[in-house]
Amino acid sequence: MKATFGPHVPEDILERYALGQIPDEDSVGVEEHLLVCEDCQDRLQTTDEFVLAMRQAAMKMVNQPRSRFERFTAMLAGFRRGWLPVYAAGFAVAALAVVIVSTMRPPDRLGEPQLVALRSIRGEDPAGISRALAGKPLVLRLDLTGIEALDAYRVEIVNARGDRVWDSMARPEGNTLATPVGTALKAGRHWVRLYAQLLRQQLLREYGLTVE
């Protein structure tokens, strides 16, 4: 007989949990229920499989080169829907705005993302820890040398306590993986973890990051 306790986890919450979109501090209720409810364990298992299969299938489709005919029909469809003139007008306005702003004042770098190159660390060598500024947009560039080549990886940032503060999927370009971080990091030691499996099950490498 299966053990079940209390109300089951709603489907959308379970999916968000499977996708890693529920912050650690908010996952208490879900995880405690999952510890004792086999029905919800089964549902999460099914959801995990669905999400992973969806991602792999979608990635294969994205990576398939489109034929010229498909590109042509897509362009025609866009034109028929009237989006092409809208895009053109949008580009013209944006270009004009850029010209005006650039001639009026020097570039303001406060909001620009900082590019941080990460190297995998050896031992506790502090020289191997990359640094970034707290509260600023961040783009991480990870060196993938020596790591199995995959279509996509999952990147996770955890704080010094090991709590996940952000994660996302990213696709590599050659030996490098560049990914914008969707949250501003607080000051302190962080670890950037690179996973092979899209569901964070195969840790490939960890990089140190000090946010100041």
Binding site: E25, V28, V30, L35, V36, M61, G123
Partner: protein
């Protein structure tokens, strides 16, 4: 690889009491209820009295969940050992009276399991740092499975490709935005002029289609459940 010794169990709190209710829309922490075996305090008390049934009940309730959580996070390698270590930490803490709030047993178990996962990852990372030149390609856990499991998984991905190929380009884009690009539901609905209901319907239809195809073509074959549940009953 035993992790039990790495975590001082007396330092494990019964979980953060403020966290459960903080997330909007998330279910509150399950409270003790008549459905529970006999209530956590009673289970704890029986274990402390040395009643073997208390220990058996603790294991019966938590073993599957602990196994599930550890397998999901770390993979099936040495799963029995990890479950055993976790259970040992929980049992020892109870026996020694370190569980200060017996009604929070579930939160305590969750905290122990999470620390076990963190400790395992730390160990592997440390090992990797120390042996970097030797094992570039090694992994924390090899979840590729045996050839049969790999073949089943390939079939599942093909089924999903079939599902994606069988829907309109617009629906495909919606699903890809959500699952592949991880765009928030609100943004997708706004961009694609969708109501929340339409969005949910599309997802549930895709799931239903995937499930139906899977049942038809992969009847009786369960991939990772094999590793998560197979040895669950015989570990202790």
């Amino acid at each position: 690889m035993s992790l039990a010794k790495d975590i001082p169990w007396e330092d494990v709190p019964e979980a953060d009491h403020s966290a459960a209710q903080s997330a909007e829309g998330l279910p509150a922490r399950p409270a003790s209820s008549p459905e529970e075996p006999s209530g956590w305090p009673e289970v704890v008390e029986r274990i402390q009295r040395g009643d073997p049934d208390g220990m058996a009940e603790l294991y019966r309730v938590f073993a599957t969940g602990i196994r599930f959580y550890l397998c999901r996070q770390l993979g099936p390698q040495e799963l029995d050992d990890k479950v055993h270590d976790t259970f040992l930490i929980v049992a020892q803490a109870i026996l020694r009276g370190h569980l200060r709030e017996p009604e929070r047993l579930m939160g305590f178990v969750r905290t122990v399991v999470r620390r076990q996962v963190a400790a395992h990852i730390d160990q592997v990372v440390q090992h990797r740092r120390e042996n970097m030149d030797l094992d570039h390609g090694a992994r924390v856990a090899d979840l590729q499975g045996d050839p049969e499991q790999q073949a089943i998984w390939r079939q599942k991905v093909e089924l999903m490709e079939e599902v994606l190929a069988g829907i309109s380009r617009r629906d495909r884009e919606i699903l890809m935005r959500f699952y592949l690009d991880e765009q928030p539901q609100e943004q997708i609905c706004a961009d694609m002029n969708l109501s929340e209901t339409q969005f949910r319907l599309l997802k549930s239809r895709a799931k239903a289609r995937f499930g139906a195809l899977g049942r038809r073509k992969l009847a009786g074959k369960h991939l990772t459940r094999i590793s998560m549940r197979a040895s669950g009953g015989g570990a202790h």
